[in-house]
Symmetry: C2
Subunit: 335 residues, 2 copies
């Protein structure tokens, strides 16, 4: 490594080769890369696939419980997991700002690689671009993923039906509060640790216990509120949530009370909502709770026929209020 | 459309929904999107696939002959085409800078979409993130692609053998000179038009005519020199190029002479090199020249056994010099 930071010359030619060979490949693919081709070639006859993509622009790059590398791997793996797909291949495209510390870059890539290794996901292809100082913010990662869909499972956001049960896999809001507390230096929330985690294991356990699950979705940007609104709108139903039933960790509750925020609007990176038919609700809950990531899982509501609002919240004090999508500017750059 | 520029609130929640529904989807998927899921699901039994990704950070966003949208579609399609894969699916991940003009965004997305339509490529999934003003440069696009590999074709950068012929599909350097002339306001190169184009048609024609083709690679960052060096190193051979045989458009020749640049180092986005066994060289050349994008195609050299340098250039004046990878900082952000 001839330089401690990313230079514009790392963007192409010899400089790019050097960056890849001394920093990117050793961190990302510790086993070594083979012949570099323009695309990764693979065969899997007779299977159904899922394909997804996400860009990650989180600020700051590191936070308690994770960093942009872990987030990129988890976020993309989770989008596949939510479609009942076992993640198998990941692509990694980097946009690096001139001046980025190369050791920090390597750390973020090792973090991404570690999640992939733990999940049996192969990093199949990648790209690295460099932009001038002031034209990005450290680094952005775009990860695309391919997964193999579990046989016999049919999930869709449009599948929820009146009578179905609504579950959440754990306490909500930790990722958003953690990133916010780091960004704004909020000492009262300094004990928060992001929930950022790969969800394939726990979601697959749920599908095994409740194979007629209608839909699952990880509650990222916009929080649980956004996910419930999206699912209700896609299925043309009303989702009724009992506020008391939703697990909210004390640090999230405290931070939200102080900041005037709604925990339902705060982003998660390791929590998901699932809608299951009523007869499988208890087995689904048991499967979630039996998993280390799901100890606080809960049945939080039911699906009703279409109404004036997509999601209604029965509040702790006995009232009812519509749960709406956040307007959008509460916690920018959370992932 | 309630605002003329991208706002931070377009990053999540209602604002994100509005941005997607009023700008991104109409521009990108004119036929309308179905139910939005976390991943795109598809079946193609018994086929071999290729998977690739690229981020695009070109500056400026628009240039004669193309823009960042066209570039993103072509660049990803071309990486698949170079592996003998017919592109079928594309993902589109956007990182938008606060303040980006929404009409410009829509224009870039329509441009991307038009290339996909013309090539029969489906836009399968996407993501949109917004970062603060000054933390990106207008917009970055990351496109990942999946293609189906042509049956009976086996290409690899490691396959070139002594005696093989080296071909280039057309005149080199137009993309790089075009972008540079726009960025630096070089009037003497104002007639340059980027070669940016999807290459699947012409590369597939070459493979039909020369099915034992060893390898193909599009000459993007680092130009033809970088591609030839990569192929020679992967195959552990020396590539001998006749300088006189390489087609260099007059505007590229003039600009490079004025700027002291080597046309071999200048990026292309619609030109590729191919290495074919000697007995198929003439049919490969005829197939390239018969295609509208390949009228200036040429056989530019031959493969020899390993030597001191990966690529040697026989110059017009009768000498020989090693053709090296560019150091990397000649033309940053060309794609």
């Amino acid at each position: 490594m001839t330089s401690a930071t990313v230079r514009m010359s790392h963007g192409s030619g010899k400089g790019n080769k050097e960056l890849l060979e001394t920093v990117v490949f050793p961190a990302l693919i510790p086993g070594g890369v083979g012949t570099l081709e323009d695309a990764f070639i693979f065969d899997i006859p007779g299977r159904r696939f899922a394909f997804t993509t996400d860009s990650f622009v989180v600020s700051p790059l590191e936070f308690p419980g994770g960093d942009i590398g872990k987030l990129a791997a988890c976020g993309t793996i989770n989008d596949l997991a939510m479609m009942a797909a076992k993640p198998i291949l990941l692509s990694v495209a980097l946009v690096l700002e001139e001046g980025l510390d190369l050791q920090l870059l390597a750390k973020m890539l090792r973090s991404l690689s570690a999640v992939c290794s733990s999940q049996g996901v192969r990093i199949a292809c990648g790209d690295t671009k460099v932009v001038d100082k002031g034209k990005a913010d450290g680094m952005f990662i775009t990860a695309s993923g391919i997964g193999i869909v579990k046989v016999g499972i049919s999930l869709s956001a449009a599948n929820a039906k009146p009578g179905d049960a609504v579950l959440v896999s754990g306490g909500i809001g930790l990722h958003g509060i953690t990133v916010l507390s780091r960004r704004a230096n909020l000492h009262f929330a300094s004990s928060a640790v992001s929930d950022c985690a790969p969800l394939f294991g726990i979601s697959d356990a749920l599908l095994s216990a409740a194979p007629f699950t209608r839909t699952m979705r990880d509650a990222t940007r916009g929080g649980l509120a956004a996910v419930l609104c999206e699912l209700a709108e896609s299925s043309k139903v009303c989702i009724m949530i009992r506020e008391d039933a939703v697990p909210v960790p004390a640090v999230v509750r405290g931070a939200c009370a102080f900041l005037g925020m709604d925990p339902f609007h705060v982003a998660n990176e390791g929590r998901f909502a699932a809608i299951v038919p009523p007869e499988q609700a208890e087995s689904a809950l048991a499967a979630l709770r039996a998993h280390p990531q799901g100890r606080d899982a809960a049945i939080i509501g039911t699906v009703a026929g279409p109404g004036k609002f997509p999601v209604l919240l029965k509040t702790s004090i006995g009232g009812t209020r519509p749960l709406e999508m956040p307007p959008g500017d509460i916690l920018p750059r959370i992932c």
